[in-house]
Amino acid sequence: MRLWLAIQSFFQVLFNRDFAAGVKQLQLAAPAAEPAQAEPAKPEPPKPQPPKPQPPVRSEAITLLATLQREARFVDIVSESLDGYSDAQIGAAARDVLRDCGKVIERMFALQPFAAKTEGEQIEVPAGYDAAEFRLTGNVSAQPPVTGELVHAGWKATKCEVPKWSGSKQAALVVAPAEVQVG
């Protein structure tokens, strides 16, 4: 009888997917008959994840822009058409905006000139320099180390402290809220 069952099972396994799965279960279950110590604790079936609050989703670039707008009205001034305004009018507005932009950038990045020399002086560019640190112009075929005139000292951030934002996903792209005077 076992022979017949074996043959029957062989073809069932071969052609019946459900049956095969059942047999596989049986085989897997088999060790359960063994002494229990070999059986690792059965992992809990994975529970459906509780809806986690979405982590703040906002690019730091938006936060930087929002700060420049909030503290210096930067977005307002660059978004406005200059047509029809006199230079004096533009200057009056720009003076405040530029001053306040400067304060924000100083606070967040504490910028310093990259090169320690005064512009106009001679400066040496080391061999194996990083092209992101020095941009060479003129006779660039000379092999570094080379010496040349410092045209622009460059800028370097000594820190990068952008405010942390914790608002909703819906508001992630808002650079400045609409202002509404009630009553």
């Binding site: 936060t63 929002a66 700060t67 909030r70 009205r73 307002d76 001034i77 978004s79 406005e80 200059l82 305004y85 009018q89 533009i90 009056a92 507005a93 003076r95 405040d96 905006v97 402290e161 405010p163 942390k164 934002w165 914790s166 608002g167 909703s168 508001a171 809220p177």
Partner: protein, 594 residues
């Protein structure tokens, strides 16, 4: 106690600063804590100071927008965001809580702020507002140094020198409620400024000052002016510093100056037909602060352009600007706040009508030079002339305007006549943060040893005693004042006040009127002033105690004498000591009395 750091906190009228230094090491390394705070809805950024503003949000606004990394579901904000909100929503923003804390005509535990706010705003007490600022600083500290809880560090909190015993008590109460340690030490702000100078100079200060010198500390903050004199003496061959006198609490400061200039400039705009709204007025106020520094600099331009940006997103079209001539600014600021005056001049007092509003008692005379004349004259060595300083230490952001520093020096020089003119103490200054830095340095020297300013209490204190005699119906009995604490009484000492026995009824509240004086430096405990001269004595909060007897006694009243005590932490205590048993009762300030 496992203190790793000493922490100095400047709880200012408009800004709070926290400085700290590790206790280990041979020299104090004082740094400032960067304080994370809300700068806009849902936006947290760090700043070197926490503006002392508290914004109370309407219910619909909160929704997580006012959260901090350490606090969710907030319905209020403190710091930069609150300061900005305050501009357009004064009804919902608490300002100058500290000035209310020493205003003895109101109950400082009652929810009164924002003052005059509509009924739907959940007001807070001056005490709670101060507690919120300190809680914020404590949480910011905790976030940065989770291994060194603030409650276990050595904390020094500064108070104006002019704060009386009741205001100091309230400040301490707010601090303890905010989780600061009970070992908290209170330090006078002008003294902290001196400590900051000492920290910066190192041992060189001994070359810059000599015995017999006298330093005037002129500390003009955002909302208050605090004056102090410190004498240099030689004790056992070493230079020692002693605080000679402190001034009254003056509610006039740098903000008054900026506001005065802004008011004038708003007039110039009005001439052009431009009316400014609330937001523009505030931005004008800030522009005027910069303008003040520019126009009062050594080589100031003849005029300075002030612009107010348009309100909507059309910025350039809406921008208006005026030229503010230097002469106008100088006349207004110098003429108004630092007018030339003689040593005999006194601040003008405006006689108020019976119906005075209960708001903050701002100075009716904003001329700081006249207050200075009164202060120096009140502390003359021999009752004549004045206590001329040989040196001046300036503190507060106002003195970023160089002209004001030289002006004060010049005026004092004129008063002193032939004496050598007073000089500014040398060295660079961190005018905005010196008080917090000095407090941290003071804490460090307390632990490691170093030069200390001696001085004890800054004023003498008196209990009002009704005089005996025939009562006249409808007339209060005349009051006499019994001195219970002499000027300069040192920390950690107590004194039994010699006096006749005072009978107190057991089981009933005993109630004493209480006075202080910053000018009667010679009175000794037990001295009785026959009348109360309002020019010399200031009434502060009354003292109370309910005398419950534990002794087995049939008597319904108990004869007592006073014993006063200044604790090691600088707190004042007054006790009623029974003359017939071992019992004694502590009197507490009643700050509810209006």
């Amino acid at each position: 106690m496992t203190a790793k750091y000493v922490v100095g906190i400047d709880l200012g009228t408009t800004n709070c600063v926290l400085a700290f230094a590790p206790l280990e090491g041979d020299a104090p390394q004082v740094q400032l804590l960067q304080v994370p705070q809300l700068v806009a809805a849902s936006t947290v950024d760090s700043r070197q100071s926490l503006p002392s503003f508290l914004y109370l949000a309407p219910e619909h606004e909160a929704g997580g927008a006012l959260d901090l990394p350490w606090a969710q579901g907030r319905k209020f904000s403190t710091g930069e965001h609150a300061r900005r909100q305050g501009a357009e929503m004064p009804d919902r923003t608490v300002v100058a809580a500290k000035s209310w804390l020493c205003h003895s005509r109101v109950d400082r535990r009652a929810p009164l702020l924002p003052y005059n706010a509509p009924s739907d705003v959940g007001k807070v007490s001056p005490l709670t507002a101060s507690q919120r600022y300190l809680e914020h600083l404590a949480a910011a500290w905790q976030a940065e140094y989770p291994d060194a809880p603030l409650a276990e560090q050595q904390v020094v909190l500064t108070v104006p020198a002019s704060f009386d015993a009741a205001a100091r008590e309230l400040t301490r109460e707010a601090a303890l409620a905010a989780g600061l340690p009970a070992s908290l030490v209170l330090l006078e702000e002008p003294q902290a400024a001196v400590y900051s100078w000492l920290a910066e100079r190192g041992d060189d200060w001994r070359k810059e000052l000599k015995a017999g010198d006298r330093v005037l500390v002129c500390d003009i903050g955002g909302g208050t002016t605090d004056l102090t004199l410190v004498d240099v003496a030689e004790v056992d061959g070493e230079l020692a510093l002693e605080r000679l006198a402190v001034g009254d609490h003056l509610l006039v400061g740098g903000d008054n100056m900026d506001l005065a200039l802004a008011h004038q400039v708003a007039g110039l705009f009005a001439e052009q037909g431009v009316k400014l709204d609330a937001w523009q007025s505030v931005s004008l106020w800030h522009s005027c602060r910069d303008a003040k520094e520019t126009l009062l600099a050594p080589e100031a331009p003849e005029s300075h352009s002030i612009s107010v940006l348009g309100r909507g997103s059309k910025l350039i079209g809406g921008t208006v600007s005026v030229d503010v001539p230097r002469a106008m600014a100088t006349e207004l600021l110098v003429g108004g706040f630092f007018p030339e005056c003689t040593l005999a001049d006194r601040p003008e007092k405006r006689r108020v009508s019976g119906f005075q509003e209960i708001g903050l008692p701002f100075e009716s005379d904003v001329a700081i030079t006249r207050h200075l004349a009164a202060f120096l004259a009140a502390h003359a060595d021999d009752g004549q002339g004045a206590a001329y300083p040989t040196h001046v230490l300036f503190n507060g952001g106002v003195f970023k305007a160089n002209l004001l520093r030289s002006l004060v020096l010049e005026i004092i020089g004129k008063w002193a006549g032939d004496a050598p003119p007073a000089a500014e103490l040398p060295g660079g200054r961190d005018l905005d943060n010196a008080v917090a830095r000095g407090a941290a340095f003071y804490g460090w020297t307390k632990d490691h040893g170093g030069v200390r300013i001696r001085g004890g209490v800054a004023r003498s204190y008196y209990v009002g005693i009704e005089s005996a005699g025939l009562a006249i119906p409808g007339m209060p009995r005349p009051m006499r004042a019994l001195c219970v604490v002499p000027f300069g009484m040192e920390e950690g000492t107590s004194v039994d006040v010699p006096s006749g026995e005072i009978g107190l009824v057991l089981g009933e509240p005993a109630h004493f009127r209480f006075f202080s004086s910053a000018v009667r430096n010679g009175d000794q405990p037990g001295d009785v002033l026959p009348t109360i001269d309002e020019e010399e004595l200031t009434e502060t909060d009354p003292l109370e105690a309910t005398l419950e007897s534990t002794a087995d006694t049939e008597d319904s009243y108990v004869p007592v004498r006073f014993q006063s005590q200044i604790t090691e932490l600088g707190m004042f205590e007054l006790w009623c000591v029974s003359t017939t048993s071992d019992e004694r009762w502590k009197l507490e300030f009643n700050v509810r009395e209006a």
